[in-house]
């Protein structure tokens, strides 16, 4: 993906991507379908190397909600905070809105330019009278020009601001796996603390953990609902996952 493509938004946004994943499975928007496509969604993010910073945040945000949904389905003991539930509802609502509007897009595209209403042709004959405003000072023109230059959007097109990908998913799975081998028990909180508490890291850590749970490499325990989540290697003899 080159810079120009980023600038012109040729990639799919997180909502669109998510909707497509759900629809490709012929499912409705629900916790179940969202949980089901979480892995695919995260896989897709992994492939996006260079995104504008602002959009990365959007992807990560959606990813974090998917993780919530998925963890809820994997860890039945996990009770969601009201805000967490609200953000899940919100995501479902965004998907529903996007689905409706996206559905209209093709109609709009078809209408555009198909049988336009024309304004009157611009006359080539100008009856020109020199009619200046009361005053126009060079200084005024300069100020306006400076302001215009100032308000030009700071071109993200040219700056190759990409996410500093805090840590890649694969790396994290590796590291988690290795760590599980050396220390039998590891709490999620302490683990993420070790890895610098950046939001992205926490999410990706969590994701990686769930991935490992899925693959049966580790087992996750949460004693009470506000407790740390404990991770344990199910089979200490298993070589580090690579």
């Amino acid at each position: 993906m080159n810079e120009f493509e980023i600038a012109t938004e040729k990639f799919k946004g997180p909502i669109e991507l998510l909707l497509e994943l759900i629809e490709s499975r012929k499912m409705h928007i629900s916790d179940v379908s969202l949980s089901g496509v979480a892995d695919k969604f995260l896989e897709h993010i992994e492939k996006l190397d260079e995104l504008p910073v602002s959009d990365t945040a959007n992807f990560i945000y959606v990813a974090s909600i998917l993780l919530l949904i998925k963890s809820k389905s994997l860890l039945p003991g996990l009770e969601l905070e009201p805000e967490e539930q609200a953000s899940i509802d919100d995501l479902e609502r965004r998907l529903a809105i996007f689905k409706i509007l996206k559905g209209q897009s093709s109609e709009i595209n078809n209408l555009f330019g198909s049988s336009p209403i024309y304004s009157r042709e611009e006359s080539t004959q100008f009856n020109i009278v020199f009619a200046p405003p009361d005053r126009l000072e060079p200084k005024q023109v300069l100020d306006v020009m400076k302001q215009l230059l100032e308000s030009m959007p700071k071109v993200e097109i040219l700056e190759k601001k990409t996410v500093q990908k805090v840590i890649s998913l694969e790396e994290m799975i590796d590291r988690l796996g290795t760590r599980m081998q050396s220390a039998l028990k590891h709490s999620f909180k302490s683990f993420t603390k070790l890895e610098k508490e950046e939001k992205v890291t926490v999410i990706i850590t969590f994701l990686a953990m769930l991935e490992l749970v899925k693959r049966g490499v580790i087992e996750v325990k949460q004693h009470t609902r506000f407790d740390d989540i404990e991770m344990e290697v199910t089979n200490p003899g298993t070589p580090a996952y690579a």
């Binding site: 938004e9 919100d90 330019g113 336009p116 209403i117």
Partner: protein
């Protein structure tokens, strides 16, 4: 009253660009409400005579244009060209602005899940949308379709969009319990 309808038609013919109701009120020295009434009258007269000229309206602008029925003929004699494709992002943003406008960029971003700064700016530069101050937040704007956009789509008014009311009702039903997403 009839006379005002006549004067307005002449002015709109003469100006041949979108003008505001407020401007029409000023140049005719009438009230905005009178202008609105006379414009409805004009709209009806034009519809009745089923001629080649129609009235195109947005919430605040009005203009005369050719009937979409004549589009293929005019296309042969015009040098104007519809500039360029809209692109995927452009269509998406337009769809949101058409069915949900006037709408803030924050909300467009929220629905699309991506930053729409460049897309929105590009649509503005092409004159397909314009912006008005956001009554709820003086630092931001609300974006809405222009007459130019409607005319490109062959629509005399926004309500002529396919399924306009149905879609708006559906969308309102979804966002109704969602106060904090603007």
């Amino acid at each position: 009253m009839h006379n005002l309808r006549k004067i307005l038609e002449a002015i709109l013919f003469y100006k041949s660009e979108p003008v505001t109701i407020a401007w029409l009120a000023k140049v005719t020295k009438r009230e905005g409400s009178e202008i609105n009434e006379a414009l409805i009258e004009l709209e009806n007269t034009l519809a009745q005579s089923d001629g080649g000229i129609i009235l195109v309206r947005t919430s605040d602008h009005v203009q005369l244009g050719t009937s979409p029925d004549a589009a293929s003929t005019i296309e042969q004699i015009t040098k104007d060209e519809l500039s360029g494709e809209l692109g995927k992002a452009g269509v998406e943003a337009l769809s949101i602005i058409l069915y949900q406008g006037p709408i803030s960029r924050t909300k467009i971003d929220y629905i699309r899940g991506v930053n729409s700064q460049f897309t929105v700016r590009h649509l503005m530069v092409r004159g397909l949308i314009d912006r008005i101050p956001n009554p709820e937040d003086s630092r931001s704007y609300l974006y809405q379709p222009t007459i130019k956009l409607l005319t490109f789509m062959g629509l005399a008014k926004i309500e002529d969009l396919p399924d306009y009311e149905a879609i708006r009702t559906k969308l309102n039903a979804i966002s109704i319990d969602n106060p904090d997403n603007n």
